[in-house]
Symmetry: D2
């Protein structure tokens, strides 16, 4: 499916619609195969010991799939997450940004499914994996 | 399994170990059947429209299972979340606190499983359900 | 939501539509709170050691949620499973039937969510928990 | 992690340990990147309309991750599935075999996580995705 919103368009959309969190994220790459988002890690994302918190990793996975869907269907969508399954596999490295790499596995009329791997900057093994389902409202199709 | 930490002990533990988020939560009830946590909803938990964000609901489910495990094994545990599956079923009501009601379904030597329903204060239908697995490190048993 | 198909109607439906597997299951109870299905365990459901296989437990959870949805929306539904998250918590007892106890947590226009606990007959602790999402096609509503 | 059991060794293991189901599966490829299993679809795997049943797809995902773990840790393992999250995305084609393609994302001391895509033979879009966690007993490491 062709890309209809590029990194700049997605960044503008995020800033306009989700100003509270938009500065946390940088859309690093948007292709037909995957969308990459960088989380600029700050103190508010950390747990004692300097590791990134679980809710922060969930949020990064969620925003990755959301933006990957929008990159294909455009900014008019009020898509909402209906399900997420996430596995926390390794502790993120302290003091490092986090990346999400998202693939869209299904983009149906009412449901979309995306698959995410999360990485600490500079490490080969993923710290988490997640899969998310979004419900796409009728007026968005 | 008997309760070894009550609401006051869990609240003290949360404040000592997770000062960044402890004031968000109130341990409302701890019994052998369930543990109830209230999220005191503030602006930082909201999305446009006044609804509670997905990561905030994830965090509430996570803290509910964490505290329910500690209520049974005590404060020495470095338990970590290894898996979460969460279904977002209804939009939380704007301007209302959120509750998590957690049941521990398994408390094994190395893995514990908890089940959570999230409710908007004053509404009968749950807004989300989640199940989480925690890994309990050997030195905690 | 009122019950529109009782245990006898659900059993008839299962036999007509899914003759390959219908004799495995007995609809034991249908109320507004939960639906109980008994799996009549046979050799084909077992793994070495006499324990019930994972796919058999998945199937029992799946049929439980399916029948619980039909009990509320009637036999015309071509509902399909879109997601399942299942936790295997304890080995089923050898030589015992298995029960599923299903609650419907959401019954929306396009998506339904059910929650299941599986028990070995005669044991207090559940052997597995599962949550499933069904997609309900437009012509079924 | 190096491969310690190849396709022939895994096939022999399956036939010895799981004779009830071993003939359903063919280990098609084992590399460090992925393990591919073919399900030889037979009548007992089908639902009305000729499509492969959900429990059959679950079983194929499960056996894929199991064999991928064994390919790395050897045949002595009594590894058991503790969690599975599966998304059914498209109906399998009638009359076609099914493939699972498994990647091991984590192989820890006590937990392993694998990621699976299921395909109908000859189709580009996956019919399902799944992620599974296995618990590896101490005597297996």
């Amino acid at each position: 499916m062709p890309i209809v919103m590029d990194a700049a368009a997605l960044t503008d959309f995020l800033r306009a619609e989700f100003p509270q969190v938009a500065t946390d994220y940088e859309v690093a790459a948007v292709t037909e195969d995957e969308l990459v988002v960088r989380l600029v890690v700050a103190d508010r994302h950390l747990r004692p010991g300097g590791t990134v918190s679980g809710p922060t990793m969930f949020a990064l996975a969620d925003v990755g799939v959301y933006l990957a869907i929008l990159s294909r269907i455009g900014p008019k969508a009020l898509a909402v997450t209906t399900n997420c399954s996430i596995d926390f596999m390794n502790k993120p490295a302290a003091g490092r940004d986090l990346f999400s790499r998202t693939r869209i596995l299904k983009l149906g009329r009412v449901l979309a499914v995306g698959d995410v791997l999360l990485y600490s900057d500079g490490q080969a093994a993923p710290v988490a994996r997640a899969s998310l389902t979004y419900s796409i409202p009728p007026d968005a199709s």
